[in-house]
């Protein structure tokens, strides 16, 4: 087990970190122990509020004015870090220990040239000359596959894309060839195809530099892809740790098991599989149970779990913090009665009439130019072509999923349908009414039938008003029930959302993210709409909560026969949730059809690239390796012909290297009745693509 040539780089033992607050202190981390060896990537997973990041800050001893290491040891290459003075730590930081974190735009100094920011790492720590540093930085940028490194060094952060910024940050971290690289959610802010490329880069650099990596993430798929060993954290404690294969194959701790059960597998759908949320929520520091931290949410918990705090102990090849680890067989698990009954297969809607029909829908935004001419209004008018020629329909009671990366126009599409934006051209009919205009042109009856659920739980509710007031507003506004019954109706809706009448008088700040999202759904339901547009309703939620919200959405769809448009960037969630799926790229629908058809060949080359980029929470799965080159082009001047041609990895399958893609708009290929692909490649060729994901052994 212990590899001789791999010596430990970081040893953390019984770590506890506390923050002083008014009238006491809170322990954000209570008990974390782990070892990272040279050349190893150690993943730390867990939901928000579990203390993952605090562990990282503790290693660097960067805990702010009020934080400190309360107990335990942190040994780095044999030296105790908690005892080090400020100046000793400074010499280590950036030299021996480097860090990369979530938002690269925030992490780079906006008013300093990238080159200067990189060079100082070398000139300060290594004392080498500026010219020499410049050379090394350029080399490093080349190493992280940055196009035109010399030029990039002269630029400012806002002049390069997010993915490129993260490459700069990673390159900067590696300049001094550190022994330990700490990465805190380094790809969370990035799009899935960019994320895939950055993850590839991290794996490659780890092998090349033999660096020890501490990788913090909430995403099980990412962990499965980058880590060799995994530690699962819950409520400030390490609850399980082992090799990535072991953890994913045979999770021992009920929390780890719960996490695995609440994310949909790529390719799973709602009629065959069920998501099981973990009930309750992570206890906040300062209000943690005396016994096992997980006991209040655990299906197996007994008296001992309530009273006695379990220690992290070795069991077979893993360490686990659970009294009952031996007895639990996760394959035998059955949901307890609290869990929502799995919705039956969606009944076929009586009429197959489409409720919403869009033909060649276009939405353009005018852009303000920056030249003198534009200011005076003499310049040529230019537009962001956010949605181009979108044609689709949705049948009553069905769900249309829309996927695509940021900037692909999916949000604009939804805003146009709901009437927050004017459409520029095309034809949209909803229940037979024309809704090409914005809200001010629409009839009250139409407005009431179209509602929306939003992404960010923190901004979906007005902080000023109580839950009850906010749900009651649409009811009064559209007079869905007589005034004296409003309260009863609100309570009814709250109960549908499994929130209970006692939430009526609560203010948003007293709710958790998942609860706010449920209130948001209740508010959308309040006017009894026929169509609800969901704009990434679960992407800001922790996975266990995400499952609960998805289940609720399924339930209300059943109960009220509501039609849904569901936007998300997570392909597994969209696949799970939708009946039909549209894949968008740069304002254009590239492929549309029944969900199962989208996720199996024939694919559009872009769909294929997306699927191969998704991090799959299964370290044994074999995924085809397709990476897109370059950046998404500007929507002001989208590429002529096929908009995807500048990055298409399949173009060369066409004669002449795909010249036709540059000049001509592709035709709609129809491998199936309902399945359409917007591509020059003939259906026969598309059909020859292999599936992106194949599992070893028992699929």
């Amino acid at each position: 087990m212990v590899d001789n040539k791999a010596s430990p780089v970081l040893q953390v033992k019984d770590l506890a970190v506390a923050y002083k607050i008014r009238g006491g202190e809170i322990e954000a981390v209570q008990d974390a122990s782990f070892v990272i060896k040279r050349g190893e990537a150690y993943g730390i997973v867990g939901e928000s509020g579990c203390g993952k990041s605090t562990v990282a800050w503790a290693v660097l001893n960067f805990l702010g004015a009020n934080g400190y290491v309360k107990r335990g040891q942190i040994k780095f290459l044999g030296q105790e870090l908690t005892q080090k003075s400020k100046s000793e730590l400074r010499l280590l930081r950036g030299d021996q220990i480097a860090m990369v974190y979530q938002d690269p735009m925030q992490a780079l100094n906006p008013s300093m040239r990238l080159g200067d920011q990189m060079k100082e790492v070398l000139t300060i720590h290594r004392g080498i000359s500026d010219a020499e540093a410049e050379k090394r930085c350029a080399k490093m940028l080349e190493r992280v596959y940055m196009p035109d490194p010399v030029n990039v060094m002269k630029r400012y952060p806002h002049q390069i894309s997010g993915g490129q910024q993260q490459r700069v940050v990673i390159g900067m971290a590696l300049l001094n060839n550190p022994a330990l690289l700490i990465m805190d959610e380094p790809t969370t802010a990035l799009d899935v195809t960019v994320e895939a490329a950055v993850l590839d880069l991290i794996a490659e650099l780890r092998h090349e530099y033999d660096t020890a990596i501490m990788y913090i993430t909430h995403n099980l798929g990412v962990v499965a892809r980058v880590a060799t060993r995994v530690g699962v954290m819950y409520a400030g404690e390490m609850v399980e740790q082992g090799t990535v294969e072991e953890i994913f194959k045979n999770p021992r701790h009920p929390y780890t098991q719960g996490l695995m059960r609440c994310v949909p597998k790529l390719g799973a759908n709602k009629s065959e599989s069920i998501l099981y949320p973990i009930p309750g929520r992570v206890p906040p520091p300062g209000n943690r149970p005396a016994g096992c931290m997980f006991a209040p949410r655990c299906d197996y918990a007994d008296n001992r779990c309530q009273e006695e705090h379990p220690a992290l102990r070795a069991l077979d090849n893993v360490n686990v913090r659970c009294h009952l680890a031996e007895e639990i067989d996760w394959r035998q698990w059955t949901p307890t009665e609290d869990v929502i009954a799995p919705p039956a297969v969606i009944a076929q809607a009586a009429a197959d009439q489409p409720i919403l029909e869009a033909k060649s829908l276009k939405t353009y935004y005018p852009v303000k130019g920056s030249s003198l001419k534009d200011v005076l209004g003499l310049g040529e008018k230019r537009f962001v072509k956010a949605v181009e020629d979108a044609t689709f329909q949705i049948k009553r009671g069905k769900t249309l999923g829309v996927v695509g990366e940021s900037g692909c126009g999916k949000s604009t599409l939804v805003k146009t349908i709901i009437g927050l934006e004017d459409s520029t051209g095309g034809d949209v009919k909803f229940l037979g009414f024309d809704i090409t205009g914005n809200l001010s042109t629409r009839d009250e009856q139409v407005i009431k039938e179209l509602q929306m659920v939003f992404q960010n739980p923190d901004s979906t509710m007005n902080p000023t008003y109580t839950v009850g007031q906010q749900i009651a507003r649409p009811i009064r506004r559209f007079k869905t029930v007589p005034n004296d019954q409003v309260r009863a109706e609100v309570v009814n809706l709250l109960e549908t959302m499994r929130l209970g009448a006692n939430y009526f008088d609560r203010l948003p700040r007293q709710l958790s993210g998942g609860e706010k999202q449920r209130v948001g759904i209740a508010r959308a339901l309040a006017s009894r709409p026929d169509l609800i547009l969901c704009d990434e309703p679960v992407s800001a939620l922790d996975v266990s909560v995400q499952a609960a919200v998805l289940n609720l959405l399924l339930e209300i769809q059943q109960k009220y026969d509501t039609t849904l448009v569901f936007i998300a960037h997570d392909l597994s969630v969209v696949r799970f949730f939708s009946d039909e799926i549209a894949v968008m790229y740069l304002g254009q629908i590239m492929e549309i059809g029944p969900a199962e058809a989208i996720y199996a060949p024939p694919y559009h080359p872009y769909t294929e690239a997306l699927l191969s980029a998704v991090p799959v929470p299964d370290p044994t799965a074999k995924q085809k390796h397709i990476r897109l080159q370059g950046n998404v082009p500007s929507a002001i001047n989208p590429p002529a012909g096929c908009r995807f041609h500048t990055r298409c990895p399949r173009r060369n399958l066409l004669p002449n290297g795909g010249k036709i893609c540059q000049t001509e708009i592709p035709p709609w290929r129809e491998p199936d009745d309902e399945h359409k692909i917007f591509c020059h490649l003939p259906t026969d060729t598309l059909t020859t693509f292999e599936p992106v994901i194949s599992k070893e052994g028992n699929g």
Binding site: D103, N109, M112, M172, S370, S371
Partner: protein, 432 residues
């Protein structure tokens, strides 16, 4: 960048136009009957009306606004029929208006019904002789003549109607008969550098304003030179020690200084330095125009007073911005890159921290000007602020308008400078 500059300039022009209109309107509504102040409360309504006409105040407001802005010599020239030019009066060194009659600079005078032409000689003196044949007759049968009088007015004289005017002389009001019926007090207009005559002093505003502006420029300039480095220094020091005793001390002291009105801190300073210690003069009386250069002590207390108020404000702004920047993710990056602390502060934080306060500081020039007014009144300092104050109290709207437009121009110009500095410091704007 081009867009930004073009916008700034466009907006500046619009702002100035708006301000000039607003200012004109306000004074129009409010300044009451200025002739009462000039002629005294015992003047008769008839005398006042006559004098108003001589000031051109009976013209409609929009007409006077246009005159004030771009002058009225072009309008008057059409009536007179000759081009109007200015020439320096050797006695007063001020410019006089003349009609250019075929190369001869001429003005006119009506004496006992006879029109006399006053012709300017090369040495500046005038000769006069009777002229005839100038009178024109209009539809109503009036005989009239448009010319220039010797008080820089374009005048319409009407013969034979016996209309009388009241002329203000050094000895008081005097009645002059058979005279002028319409006046256009000639001016080049603000845009051409002539804001008109001061009603209080009777001299061109531009002439009286200049030394005042110079004195104030010295006062504010020296104060600014004191304030900026000190304020930025203390602001940064407080910002990087957020929450520590040093920060508390600097913050509370600067709060105290800002919240104390200038006239309070000014008087305390007078009490301490002027009365108890007798170290500095308590008032800034100028015995000569250039006293400020001969005795720099004269402006010590005014400068200290200005500094006390402004210093606190800018320290607070800088501190707030510094605290915010020091809390940002890129400063965290710099620290975690192992950069020495002072390098983090100076190279990474300061530049970003100065961006926000610079625009605010430049906006604050308005307050500084306000402070200048109060300080100059306290110390009797002959500067722009006291000039505005005196003019406003008297109702000398020509002077108020000119001085106020000047302060507005200064305020807008500094704001523009602030915007440009911001652009320069912030690459996000510079490179877009």
């Amino acid at each position: 960048m081009a867009r930004f500059i073009a916008r700034s300039i466009l907006s500046t022009i619009t702002t100035m136009l708006l301000v000039s209109m607003a200012l004109f309107l306000l004074l129009e509504v409010g300044s009451g009957d200025i002739t009462v102040k000039i002629l005294g409360v015992f003047s008769t309504p008839e005398q006042r009306a006559s004098y108003r006409a001589q000031l051109g105040l009976n013209a409609p407001a929009w007409q006077r606004y246009v005159d004030w802005l771009i002058g009225n010599d072009w309008r008057a020239a059409k009536r007179v029929g000759y081009p109007l030019v200015t020439a320096t009066n050797p006695q007063t060194d001020e410019k006089d208006w003349w009609a250019d009659v075929d190369g001869q600079l001429t003005r006119w005078k009506l004496e006992d019904g006879h029109l006399q032409a006053l012709e300017r000689q090369a040495d500046g003196s005038t000769t006069s002789h009777l002229v005839s044949g100038k009178w024109q007759t209009n539809a109503a049968g009036q005989e009239f003549f448009w010319g220039l009088d010797n008080k820089n007015n374009a005048v319409k004289w009407v013969r034979g109607e016996g209309s009388e005017v009241w002329v203000l002389t050094k000895a008081g009001l005097r009645k002059a008969g058979d005279g002028p019926q319409e006046y256009i007090p000639l001016r080049k207009g603000l845009l051409r550098g002539d804001p008109g005559k001061s009603l209080q002093y009777g001299r061109p505003v531009a002439v009286t304003l200049f030394p005042r502006v110079r004195n104030t420029a010295i006062l504010a300039g020296v104060a600014f030179l004191f304030i900026m480095p000190l304020a930025l220094f203390f602001g940064i020091i407080a910002g990087i020690n957020d929450g520590k005793p040093l920060d508390r001390f600097i913050s509370i002291t600067s709060l105290g200084a800002t919240a104390t009105p200038e006239f309070v801190s000014g008087i305390f300073l007078i009490l301490i330095f002027g009365i108890w210690l007798k170290a500095l003069p308590a008032v800034s009386i100028f015995l000569s125009d250039d006293a400020i250069f001969k005795d720099p002590k004269l402006i010590a207390l005014p400068i200290l007073t200005l500094t006390a108020v402004e210093l606190g404000y800018i320290i607070r702004m800088t501190r707030a911005s510094m605290v915010e920047v020091m809390d940002s993710a890129y400063i965290r990056t710099a620290i975690l890159k192992g950069m020495p602390y002072w390098r983090v502060v100076l190279r990474h934080a300061v530049r970003n921290a100065l961006m926000a306060p610079i625009t605010v500081i430049m906006l604050h020039v308005n307050w500084l000007i306000g402070g200048v007014v109060v300080v100059e009144v306290i110390f009797g300092f002959p500067g722009l602020g006291k000039y505005i104050y005196d003019a406003a109290i008297f109702g000398d709207f020509n002077a108020v308008e000119a001085a106020a437009m000047l302060t507005v121009t200064i305020a807008i110009a500094t704001r523009l400078v602030g915007d440009l500095a911001y652009t320069f410091l912030n690459p996000r704007i510079r490179y877009s």
